[in-house]
């Protein structure tokens, strides 16, 4: 992307910003279904923040869960191959 360094408040190419923001909207599960109604930019930004925080919290909870499983289930060998297949199919 050209002109990144000149992206200041007064010289913003609004269309460019809007394009990037709509791209964000497509990634948000709560907002990307509503393609007909207009969602404001600030709402998309707010939803992005809360979506990221939600994912971070999930990472934290999953880490705890995996550690607990490791403690109780005595996992010494993890089958990489079967997990790869699970992720691909």
């Amino acid at each position: 992307m050209s002109g990144q360094k000149s992206c200041r408040a007064s010289n913003l190419n609004e269309n460019e910003i809007n394009d990037l923001v709509w791209r964000l909207q497509a990634l948000l599960p709560r907002l990307n279904r509503r393609t007909d109604s207009r969602v404001s930019v600030s709402k998309i930004l707010k939803e992005t923040c809360s979506h990221i925080k939600k994912l971070q919290k999930e990472v934290e909870e999953l880490s705890e869960r995996v550690i607990e499983l490791m403690e109780s289930a005595d996992i010494t060998e993890i089958d990489e191959e079967s997990l790869r297949r699970l992720l691909l199919h």
């Binding site: 992206c7 990634l27 999930e58 705890e64 995996v66 996992i75």
Partner: protein, 193 residues
């Protein structure tokens, strides 16, 4: 989502389109790289069991695993993204300060940035830091946008140094990778529960 993956029959042909619940398919290579790295970290951690399986130990180890997850994802993306570079820089500084610990479980003195998630003990709610003299009722769209952008800068690694265009681009990629990371961890947790 996880049940769909796990119950899908192994009779699927290898050429079948992978079911990845993220917006971009090209992220799947990164996702696999992350899965491989993360599993290696997990193997290492499972071999080093604490002497006392107390709840404090569990919390410390899960904190270490969380950091390892972010590290593995940042390594899988490499240096081509500002957010991954920020994570790698931040976490490698921690490793330098604690050279004896090859894993992240014993980090105590490192200040954890907001974008690595907050630990449950120290939940500092930053309220009204960017509050201007006017009340929220009088804020116009621009003020709201400014505030939301600042919040976004706090949650995206390296966000504080980016211009708005880069911030939005990096955020999109970061969200995709974070979703991949969660998906892999969910698959692992489900596989071993």
């Amino acid at each position: 989502m996880i049940l769909d993956l796990c119950s899908s029959s192994r009779a699927h042909t290898p050429n079948m389109t992978p079911i990845i619940p993220t917006a971009n398919n090209p992220a799947s290579a990164t996702k696999l790289r992350f899965a491989r790295r993360f599993l290696r970290s997990l193997s290492k951690m499972s071999k080093t069991r604490p002497s006392c399986p107390s709840s404090i130990c569990v919390k410390k180890r899960s904190e270490g695993l969380k950091m390892a997850a972010y590290w593995c994802m940042a390594r899988s993306v490499g240096s081509r993204r500002a957010w991954s570079r920020a994570i790698l820089m931040k976490l490698s500084r921690g490793r330098q300060q604690h050279p004896h610990h090859h894993n992240f479980s014993m980090k105590r003195k490192i200040r954890r940035p907001t974008w690595l998630g907050k630990t449950k003990k120290k939940q500092k709610k930053k309220r009204n830091i960017t509050c201007s003299s006017s009340s929220y009722d009088d804020e116009d769209e621009e003020e709201i946008m400014k505030r939301q952008t600042e919040k976004l800068r706090e949650v995206v690694p390296g966000g504080k140094l980016m211009d708005i265009c880069s911030l939005l681009e990096e955020t999109a990629h970061f969200v995709t990778c974070l979703a991949d990371q969660v998906h892999v961890m969910q698959t692992i947790a489900h596989r071993y529960s």
